[in-house]
Symmetry: C3
Subunit: 268 residues, 3 copies
Amino acid sequence: MNGTAPSGIVTLLTDFGVQDHYVGVIKGEILRRNPRAVIVDITHQVPPQDVQAAAWLLASSWRSFPAGTVHLCVVDPGVGDTRKALAAEVCGHRFVGPDNGFLTHVLRDCDEWKTRELSRGDLFNQPVSMTFHGRDIFAPIAGALSANLRFDEVGSTLPKPVELDVPTVGVRRDEIRAGVVYIDRFGNVITAVTARHLEWTGMQPGEVVVAINDAVIDRYYPTYAVAGNGPFFLFSSGGWFEVAVKNGSAAEALNIRRGDPVVVRRRA
Amino acid sequence: MNGTAPSGIVTLLTDFGVQDHYVGVIKGEILRRNPRAVIVDITHQVPPQDVQAAAWLLASSWRSFPAGTVHLCVVDPGVGDTRKALAAEVCGHRFVGPDNGFLTHVLRDCDEWKTRELSRGDLFNQPVSMTFHGRDIFAPIAGALSANLRFDEVGSTLPKPVELDVPTVGVRRDEIRAGVVYIDRFGNVITAVTARHLEWTGMQPGEVVVAINDAVIDRYYPTYAVAGNGPFFLFSSGGWFEVAVKNGSAAEALNIRRGDPVVVRRRA
Amino acid sequence: MNGTAPSGIVTLLTDFGVQDHYVGVIKGEILRRNPRAVIVDITHQVPPQDVQAAAWLLASSWRSFPAGTVHLCVVDPGVGDTRKALAAEVCGHRFVGPDNGFLTHVLRDCDEWKTRELSRGDLFNQPVSMTFHGRDIFAPIAGALSANLRFDEVGSTLPKPVELDVPTVGVRRDEIRAGVVYIDRFGNVITAVTARHLEWTGMQPGEVVVAINDAVIDRYYPTYAVAGNGPFFLFSSGGWFEVAVKNGSAAEALNIRRGDPVVVRRRA
């Protein structure tokens, strides 16, 4: 036996939206390879072509699934140019998508991984279209992997997948410098700062303030329910420092966008 | 054997939207407990924190599923405060969610029910987050109940679940007083008045008018297809009096909101 | 054995949206007839009552599913009037919905088909509502067909289903006249012209221009990735001539709507 037995589950993460037939077609192509596949939508509302957002959403969801799950991630601005197609096996999970960096966070999270290029044309829908590799390449491979295709059979070795340029987190004694990594539909602002970063500084949540753009947020509450009015920070369910407004949008109230710089520092 | 055998189906009703990864994560946590679960979205577009809407949507959908189905309903403005977490067994169906009244209509609809508090920390994701009990408490319990966890094993008895303050329907000889309970995406206005209420008054649909706010709707048609222009009323597919505009939005045309008072009375 | 063995898959294509409980209810009714059904959403965002769009989306997706799949298509402006309800068996696939022309493209695509009227009241939810045949007629039949109901048992023969008025494609030596058949969520404009039409004229993609309304698009690129700025045309993943703008909306840029006339002609 090579690697982990498949769970039969295939997750989908795309920017195709749910208005057209594109996602349905991908599901059909998976089911043609594995009629017993259990297909789960993570989301299809990734902002168009936004591989950074896709990479973060994937990192935030894959561990909730059982080992052996296949994660299909198709946010593919480079379809039709020279970008490669890849599959990865990471800590017993499998990932399939264009080689554009969508695995950046996942690979940093796991020591044990291998990647292969999808080079087996006999496994694709032929002729492969120029613009919809989700249907013609990625769905067929994901479907086959969720059934009985062995990982090593998807193609040739791909030693170094593309990495996204992800802002680093700088931790010093009394200060953490990072950035905004995601803004969710409620307008909650999620930063790259984790509880572990804070531990390294020796500070407690009640001892710090969070500065983003011109705003300094100095109230910490453990939950939305007990928060007062105005912006505050908390630890998100994913373990990140998050800036929120109870029953409102922190991103709107403070005019924050993804990528904005964040400083967590000792309260004056 | 205790209660009904599980159908393996888990329905989901939340206000998480479908833009982020939250719903996908919940599905993963269910599948980790029961890889054979069949998960069905009712909707994730409940208006944020609107437990009244969730309660009505649940009441309008649960009977379409087979006995043994687990219904997960997470619209949870109180997450992180002192609200309890519950499971209920009602007429052979199971329900899981925060104890905030989401079961109000379902419990009135069925004589035979029992409720328990979710007090078995060993069944949760540990550590339980402060802000995402959907992932850490409700999904694990729903997944386990859809497999082989017996209902009585989810926790201690909870004698009296929270009830929402639901407007009553007042029926007199020539008049029914009620309110608007839901407005759907087409702008159809659904009231708390049912065919049974009308029967009690002895009036026929053609003998009444429906007054909401300043409007008096005096045309009854059995279907949208045969309706003329302008607002009319009909019996909705759920059996309620509904005010509609063919190919348009009655809620917009008449400026109606949920909770507005409704009077059905004998035509003058 | 009659016809193709069911795949157990049921696809859904409706205009019900995903805000209310209507789609969840349909899925429940399918699962009550076949608890092992695998249900796949094509989309529920068909523009309300737009049978033309539904017919095109169905034609663009059904072949991605295995033979034996049941395709439920409910865009039903005529519910409650005299329109019939039908099932069809086409090239080993089954289709269920109102007899309003939604099968127009599918039937032209296949020589071998038969249709039946859904006349077996004993298979429906009784009493059948006046306004929600998706729940009371179509879902029960789709669920039963996906399990073990034989196609010929759904009702009496229906010799001639309704056909939509679909604009024809006129091919001459140096010119193809057709129309816009669909605009997707990216604003890509899909026309009725296919690669085969172009072959008949003997022209190559690089030898033609595409005229829609007042615009003449004279740049052809094989993919979005290699396109320059401004509108261009390519072959869509479905094989149609498509007008697009890289990282933008061609429909907005050129003010194009479905149904607008299209002329492909030899470059001057």
